[in-house]
Subunit: 554 residues, 2 copies
């Protein structure tokens, strides 16, 4: 059954090569085009999504009951329920399925993973609906980030895992010379052994993009996987698990190699799973509060987390002031700042900056970004597509509280979403504060909340931004400067703080965007998390190597 492997082998080879060269490469087309995905794909998917609402989710997985109370941020109660089991039973079933999966060849496992991703790709339009109506992302973003971009991240993880496993040879003849005597000879054989049951705890904003690398890295390396979705975003991962189980079954494996482990706020099971000694690997994406709990209470020492970041922008100078304002505005607007890569803190020198339009003072820079947001949102359709909806109601309260932290430069306001009267949507808030008001800007304020921070100098701005990254975590940083010495200083400071730095983005690339096969997402070198999507460290410890060495009988 390595037919799946053979079918996708060329793609895998390209993917491995891409991870080493890291120029632009993508396996799954991000264009939501009928030419690629089928002319009726969009309409079919929407119909399929509608047909799932209010019903038990159709999945071949045992369960003792059903859970599910997802409500779309666009205002629709999904009413879909999923099979639920106790943590204990899930782990027992997963463990039972693991023996044959662990014994399978690398190619069989990797082939199955590649086929799963391939079939997920064919369902990208359905996934877009599922992601949109759980995370609140706009449709196009839900399609791209929830679909092909997530699939690219999945393939990337499989490529790393395959490459890492194949560095260990299957066998060798070890022959040690003994001078004039006969050499000492051993036949040696190595096999990959998995850790065991891998627990993936998903988040509510990017369930597939953040979940896939862990799911596929663990599967490829022979572990079984329990997928514990956020109660507010089960459907995208349920679709994923359903497809995976189908492929596993076709490949001759127990489909319980991957299981959905859904729960709800009434009877959460995450803590029970985390503290079970049978769980060998934990991947967590979510809040720093629960992340810390997971790190402190996990029995296994193999815990990967992506928690939070307070991402800075340092504005020093620019040769394209309009581009700067437009680019930052877009970054703040995209999915209403609900990306872990979205900037929050915009450090601007108190005495202003040099630009191609002459010197701009602090207020002009802040106002310029604010106006660019207004312009972006002036077209209602574009506004809706960009902003999406607010995933969690708590975010609205955070906006309200943030207004009082300084001088409002651009206020947040509810946004009407065409076709979804009950949608929870809000435009970005920008609040001006002084650099010493770290109580305001020093914490992560998740959502469409940004601070324009009046800073004594660029040098101070870099120190404050890098210092905050080291202490509180940051995934991205952005710098605008025409001065190479400033760029060098920022490169050093943010490297040391473990933050990926983008410089002078004024065009169509945004600091929030992290491209599979090129950008490392999260360095693992500050409190934002230790999971790097994807590097060797993310996969190398998910398996171990067993040896049998044998002397030929005399």
């Amino acid at each position: 059954m390595s037919a799946f492997f053979e079918a996708h082998r060329a793609l895998l080879d390209q993917a491995i090569e891409a991870t080493r060269t890291r120029g632009y490469w993508s396996a799954y087309p991000e264009a939501a085009s009928g030419k690629i995905y089928g002319e009726s794909a969009k309409a079919d998917a929407e119909a399929a999504f509608r047909a799932m609402l209010g019903k038990p989710f159709d999945i071949d997985q045992p369960g003792d009951g059903r859970v599910g109370c997802e409500v779309s941020p666009y205002g629709i109660a999904l009413g879909i329920t999923y099979p639920a089991s106790s943590a204990d039973r899930l782990i027992a079933m997963s463990t039972a399925a693991g023996a044959a999966w662990a014994r399978a060849t690398i190619e069989n496992r990797v082939g199955a993973c590649l086929e799963i991703i391939h079939r997920i790709n064919r369902q990208s339009f359905l996934m877009a609906n599922a992601v949109m109506h759980t995370t609140g992302q706009g449709f196009m973003m839900a399609f791209q980030a929830g679909g092909p971009h997530a699939q690219d991240r999945a393939l990337e993880a499989v490529a790393y895992a395959y490459d890492e496993m194949k560095r260990v040879p299957g066998a060798a003849n070890w022959s040690k010379p003994q001078g004039k005597g006969d050499p000492l000879v051993l036949d040696k054989a190595w096999r990959i052994i998995p850790r065991g049951v891998s627990l993936v705890i998903g988040c509510a904003t990017f369930p597939t993009w953040n979940g896939y690398p862990a799911i596929f890295a663990s599967l490829a390396t022979g572990n079984t996987v329990l997928v514990k979705p956020h109660p507010g975003a089960i459907l995208p991962l349920a679709l994923t698990v359903r497809i995976a189980r189908e492929v596993l079954k076709e490949a001759g494996f127990d489909p319980n190699v991957i299981m959905l482990a859904p729960d709800d706020a009434q009877a959460p099971i995450a803590k029970e799973l985390v503290t079970d000694p049978r769980i060998a690997i934990i991947d967590f994406t979510g809040s720093p509060v629960f992340g810390q709990w997971v790190r402190e209470h996990a029995v296994t020492d193999l815990v990967f987390t992506e928690e939070a970041g307070v991402n800075p922008i340092v504005v020093d100078s620019t040769s394209d002031f309009r581009g700067l304002c437009g680019n930052i505005a877009f970054s703040l607007t995209l999915y209403s700042g609900q990306m872990c890569t979205a900037p929050q803190n915009i450090f601007v020198p108190a005495d202003g900056i040099e630009t191609n339009e002459g010197r701009k003072n602090f207020d002009e820079v802040a106002a310029g970004i604010g106006s660019a947001i207004d312009k972006l949102l002036s077209d209602p359709d574009r506004a809706t597509a960009l902003l999406g909806a607010i995933q969690n109601e708590a975010t609205l309260k955070r906006i309200e509280a943030a207004r009082r932290l300084g001088a409002v430069v651009r206020d947040s306001a509810p946004v009407a979403v065409s076709g979804f009267a009950q949608a929870r949507a809000a435009s970005p808030l920008i609040v001006a504060v002084d650099a010493d008001n770290e109580a305001a800007w020093g914490e992560e304020r998740f959502g469409p909340i940004a601070f324009a921070i009046r800073t004594p100098s660029t040098r101070d701005a870099i120190a404050l931004a890098a210092g905050s990254a080291s202490r509180k975590g940051a995934i991205t940083a952005s710098l605008y400067s025409t001065d190479e010495a400033v760029i060098d200083a920022a490169s050093d400071a943010f490297a040391k703080a473990g933050v990926a730095l983008s410089v002078n983005l004024t065009g169509g690339v945004y600091v929030n965007q992290s491209a599979a096969f090129s950008d490392f997402h999260v360095t693992g070198a500050n409190p934002a998390g230790n999971a790097c999507l994807t590097d060797s460290a993310f996969v190398a410890n998910r398996f171990r190597v067993a040896t049998v060495r044998r002397q030929k009988a005399a």
Copy 2:
């Protein structure tokens, strides 16, 4: 200053290739031969060693005082003292040295590491004296395991680190097509960023062999290293650090990139180091008791340990009974069972085994191994060379206590060591017990103590041995069987338990031996430890990757 890199580049390439093919390969000759190391090397080294006794150790490292009270297991008080500083000061000096080391090119760092290993190799005879008179190893073993074999493990770690770092390109041009529009273009640059200060806690039995992989993996990846030797085995690591500091200085770096952190029982500093938040990586080799403390109290989550193993032998059948007895006898005798890879538990079916000499009952198998030990030790010079001396007096008490756990098959006795009247040497003890006496055989009893375990069947033996490995840890397992089905079953069981299995060793290879570039030492899949010498997981997380991506100015 990549002259060092150029000088050793061909060797590095061979080493990397060797890690992938894992046939026999070695960089540093294990023959203690004057032809290789210089005709006067042996005598010169002994003189140099004698000259160090009773004096302050000559090393260019700052210190606030001196410590050192090593006593050779052969009965000589070394009387050497080493510069000591507080944990706080050591970490501060290490941190200060780290900035330039972190910024150095990969080639500069790796080149320095390779030169250090090269110069250590040239001092192999001196190292042999140092290792012999701290660990108690016999001279030849001290030369080989403490010298070239340890150097091979060091090179292996550097090879893995270099290979892993070089998989990340330095730069790429990222160009994303935009249909008919201009592509989106970014210049991307990546750099390796280290974790910070790396703490290596050495053991008393294999200070260099077990310490080098961590020291060199951390150095190569840009971390600074504090080497905290066991108070009983400082000299081998002091020689190592001295050579390393010389090379670092020549290469233009602050020699404090590596520092000796010696202490004594009166004022131990290990706990203070382990719990300091500035320590980013910890590598520990030692007892499970202190290992557990380190794992539980370390502030960093990057902790590698090698703690302990209760290593089993399963005897099912053999076509070379004499070879079996001789091979096991050698394994029990070598360095008096003080290797983490030495077998302790010999499972033998109660109703005996089939052999080329006909059926042998349980007592005959146990007695056969005992007699083979007697024969090995019948020549006093060979006995001394093989057994070495007992590193720690506590081991003698353990032998005494073990005698009472069952029926003595072969008793341990003091052994006279020619030239060292005060040497602490003892021959192996074999005690026969029943399988259900797990209180006897289920614990690690470090030293020349073995159990012949009367087991209902081979199947039970495999289950007991693998179960014990899973619960208590094991690094090696050995099987004797002429039955392929038994070999398969054992291969599966020990793979699952994370133990490297050797099959039918009756010749000149012993289960205790782990060859660099071929054998993975410790799988990381049972409580014996999570440090695998050396696989990707051992190096991949010692560094992270920082990104700068940059849009060209318009």
